[in-house]
Symmetry: C2
Subunit: 576 residues, 2 copies
């Protein structure tokens, strides 16, 4: 049926000339356009809301006076942080009321470039969840790492033509934006008819003016009410983030008032499997906001129509004729307890049961991304010029590391050797995209890892292979196992793989259910703490995944060597 025929049928149905597929009777409709509750029936056909009123239908469902909300929108999310495919993610977030996600596929783009983004776009079809995309603006994030791919001007230009692409992703490289770097400005100019997302933690006053003057329209990095207000005052939309790493909602919600809320949205940014399962998704932002004193309808507006307006979505985020029938039936408004979820008019979640199936992934080419040159145990030997070395000092609950000087043990050849009395481990970063053979070696303290090794292919932003251990043999076993399984997280002890999570899609995500991922990760975390004696104040997997990001102070390790972020240069591990 062509589009015009569909339009004809819709008009006829709306007039009441034919039976619609479904009528939800006795709804308390949460009207996000007017901040009111209306008692009415909702007629639905072929995924669309046909109208309010008394319609004849093939099927009636009496919701018995329950509240009906539009489906929720996450205005900024890195899907890859959930460790699962869009299909698997839908199984978790849809029951939590999310029907639309605006994704920034920054991680997969660093591994697979355009191909990775297209894989996610393709995977987002045929699931009961809209996924829109922002094109990552900073791939690679720095020139001090080896990424798997880049997203250049031409790529950006092509990707921006796609319907599901809403604009340019978070401009993390805010110095370049402020300083008018031509390459970044050119990308911004490309996206000028779409949306350009910001990412400007702490920027204020003139720097903020300079950051946004060329079209940055959103920011989700506010940590204080002052930052939020400075942005709202300048006409930016502020997305209030409640993620796994960054939890800003309670700090910011006090700055939301009846007049500025129309430009406040919700996002999760990065959300791990555990939090998704235990806390939920954007419904958690809604709940927290209500608990913090925000009117429930206002909170729902922030999670729906406000995001729709900001990102210029069409027919999403409200309950009205012509809108997608993405609807949540609530058991209770104040606790935002979701009884059932309709996606494009289909009941996809009801009374604690998921009612949809997702198709398999067919694109095998995204599964073989761990391409490393053979690593010999000799490659892990760290030669020092002295026994005084720079060590990366890990701090609990922080991505920032310390640059520490420590006396370490070396053998007669000047090679670093592990000393069981010191809380220092060896770390290696192995370029894993193009088998260049690059191996960066360094030292890390405060992990307290004992008798074993942990390896992961999640390492922001380039996602090379990072391995940490107190002995080279276990490290090598871990490296080889990662290669075998095409990416993921591996724990080795006594030359044996003791636990692993295979993340064979781009080395970042998997297509097993999120619940299984969460269980596996939980077991692995327990093993790390119980057997490897890892410092319980540190999540080893998450911490390792940021050890390679040379834009966060103070000392990081890439496949090219030890990087002093404060000096912005590579340094020798040994203090000569």
């Amino acid at each position: 049926m062509d589009r015009i025929e569909k339009m004809e049928i819709r008009a006829s149905l709306a007039k009441g000339e034919k039976e619609v597929e479904l009528v939800l009777k006795n709804c308390k409709i949460i009207n996000v356009f007017t901040h009111e509750i209306h008692e009415n029936d909702i007629a639905i056909n072929n995924g669309k809301i046909i109208g309010f009123g008394d319609y004849k239908a093939k099927k009636y469902i009496d919701v018995k006076g329950k509240y009906v909300s539009p489906g929720l929108i996450d205005s900024h999310m890195h899907l890859e942080s959930t460790l699962v495919t869009p299909q698997r993610l839908a199984e978790i977030v849809v029951p939590n009321g999310t029907t639309t996600i605006i994704a920034d596929p920054h991680e997969i783009a660093n591994v697979l470039g355009v191909k990775g983004i297209n894989y996610l776009i393709d995977s987002s079809k045929d699931i009961p969840l809209n996924i829109f995309f922002m094109i990552p603006s900073c791939v690679p994030a720095t020139s001090f790492e080896d990424t798997g791919a880049t997203i250049d001007y031409k790529d950006t230009q092509e990707l921006l033509k796609k319907d599901l692409v809403l604009g340019l992703g978070e401009l993390m490289d805010y110095p370049s934006v402020i300083n008018g770097d031509k390459e970044i400005l050119k990308k911004m100019e490309l996206a000028k008819r779409k949306i350009v997302d910001g990412h400007a933690p702490g920027l204020m006053n003139k720097e903020l003016n300079a950051y946004m003057i060329n079209g940055v329209k959103t920011d989700h990095e506010c940590a204080t009410i002052e930052e939020m207000k400075e942005r709202l005052n300048r006409g930016m939309y502020v997305s209030i983030r409640e993620g796994s790493a960054s939890k800003d909602l309670k700090n910011l919600i006090g700055g939301v008032n009846e007049y500025n809320y129309r430009r406040c949205l919700f996002c999760s940014d990065d959300k791990n499997p555990e939090d998704l399962i235990n806390k939920g998704h954007i419904n958690y932002n809604v709940k927290l906001a209500i608990e913090s004193g925000i009117d429930p309808i206002t909170a729902i507006q922030m999670a729906t129509i406000n995001a729709s307006e900001c990102y210029r979505l069409r027919d999403i985020g409200g309950i009205a004729p012509g809108y997608d029938a993405d609807l949540l039936i609530l058991n209770d408004l104040k606790t935002f307890d979701i009884h059932s979820v309709y996606k494009k008019g289909k009941l996809v979640y009801n009374d604690n049961k998921i009612l949809f199936e997702t198709r398999d992934i067919v694109d095998e080419s995204v599964r073989n991304t761990v391409n490393i040159a053979d690593v010999d145990i000799k490659d892990l030997v760290l030669k020092l010029d002295s026994d005084i070395a720079y060590v990366i000092g890990v701090k609990p609950f922080s991505l920032i590391t310390e640059k520490a000087l420590r006396k370490v043990s070396i053998n007669e050849k000047g090679e670093y050797i592990n000393n069981e009395y010191l809380d220092i481990c060896k770390m290696a970063v192995i370029e894993r995209h193009h088998a260049t053979g690059k191996v960066g070696l360094g030292l890390v303290e405060n992990f307290n890892l004992t008798n074993g090794a942990i390896a992961t292919t999640i390492s922001h932003d380039s996602h090379n292979l990072v391995v940490l251990g107190d002995n080279d043999k276990d490290m090598l076993v871990a490296i080889n196992r990662i290669k075998e399984i095409n990416g993921g997280i591996v724990i080795v002890r006594d030359n044996e793989v003791k636990a692993e999570l295979k993340l064979d899609i781009a080395g970042l995500i998997t297509d097993i259910p999120l619940k299984n991922v969460e269980e596996k990760l939980s077991e692995m975390l327990e093993y790390s703490f119980d057997e490897l004696k890892i410092n319980r104040k540190i999540n080893p997997f998450m911490t390792l995944s940021f050890m390679s990001l040379p834009v966060i102070p103070s000392l990081k390790l890439t496949a090219r060597g030890l990087f002093d972020v404060d000096k912005f240069e590579f340094i020798n591990v040994s203090k000569k």
Copy 2:
């Protein structure tokens, strides 16, 4: 300078590295994003707001604590009703604070088609006023008239590609929309990525559902709060109209509240020269709203950011870095008294003085549109089959006419002759676009026109030549004079042209100053009342201009003959 260079310079200026062109000091900035007042300086360069704060500038202007508002937006206007070109219109509306108009060039499109629209688009360049366009959706409005041109599917498709074109104009033909007429749906489908304007007076419930289900996003035809609420509840934007013919603001403003106002806009629709001069433009809507109890900042939001959001304008409608520096300095907030106007950073109006000049129109091809076959006095003879005739009954202050049966005088040949004791005149509609020679003849009562004739080329929607008189000789003189001057309004008495307003651009507008138009019209109106003894309850020019519109009940005359709108068919003047 290319775009990227401009962006570089902007970023540098915003950082404060160079002097900006202008700083407005000590502003009370009306923040339409947050509904707050901020005291700050505004830095401006090359048409853009660079930032707030302490900037070095080549020039400082101290506004001494005055309020600064964004320029106002008329969200729906037929420019042609002002009788002047965009250049001349700017001279009037800019001092009234309008910096953006969303125009629906329905009238000129009926005369000149795509060429007429392109002429207006071209004329809107180089004036201190943004004019965006909606493509008229209903040209011709009916199949019972002869228009000068049509806007078909292909034309619509091409025009929608233009940057200044925001979408599809008001869907006046609501029966076709509701009934799923393929031709209108096809145009709507074309515009689905832009905005589709509605026009649905009185439609409610299921008919309203059917009207909007295929993407109609706005309506400016609400006359009651009930209508307005039905539309807001369904996610439509409601533009509150205060024009010359339709004055809805006082009826609707009571329905605006703190929660739904974000989806309420202002428009004028049709505004005549007299009202523009005496009352103003969108500032008049703002003033009336404030007088009716709306908070001044809320009223300003409705006139600025709300329209910008609805029509997805970029960098217009607010005061923020990167936005166009379209600014109004107010003497007083509550009376919205405008002291000066900046358009893209240039002072264009200050202290009752206009500070801009407009360029001349160069396109002569839009001036020769009165193309009529020679009319002989015999062509004005109305033959009747009896002395009982259907007469168009004009009513004061209404576009609706009555279908009256009257006994009239005829001569021995059965030809209608004027009877000085009856308030009945002859009316002729002469096809004037393609010299087809079509002349429609009919009778009209209640004008009380005595000893003379009035002719006009403004006659909705086809804008053929309409002439009214009590004697054929004066009517003929008027017709010939209209032909000579290429359109306008002409008054004839005793075979002499007594007064005229030349509207030689499309027969609809002129490039003389609006003030002169208003003076001329005023004199002509006086002449009509004083000398032609026209019924003072009727504005003869406006009334005549709607005598030919066969979509408004009950009886109208087109070049094809007398049309019974209720029966939707042509009828004979004489009751046989």
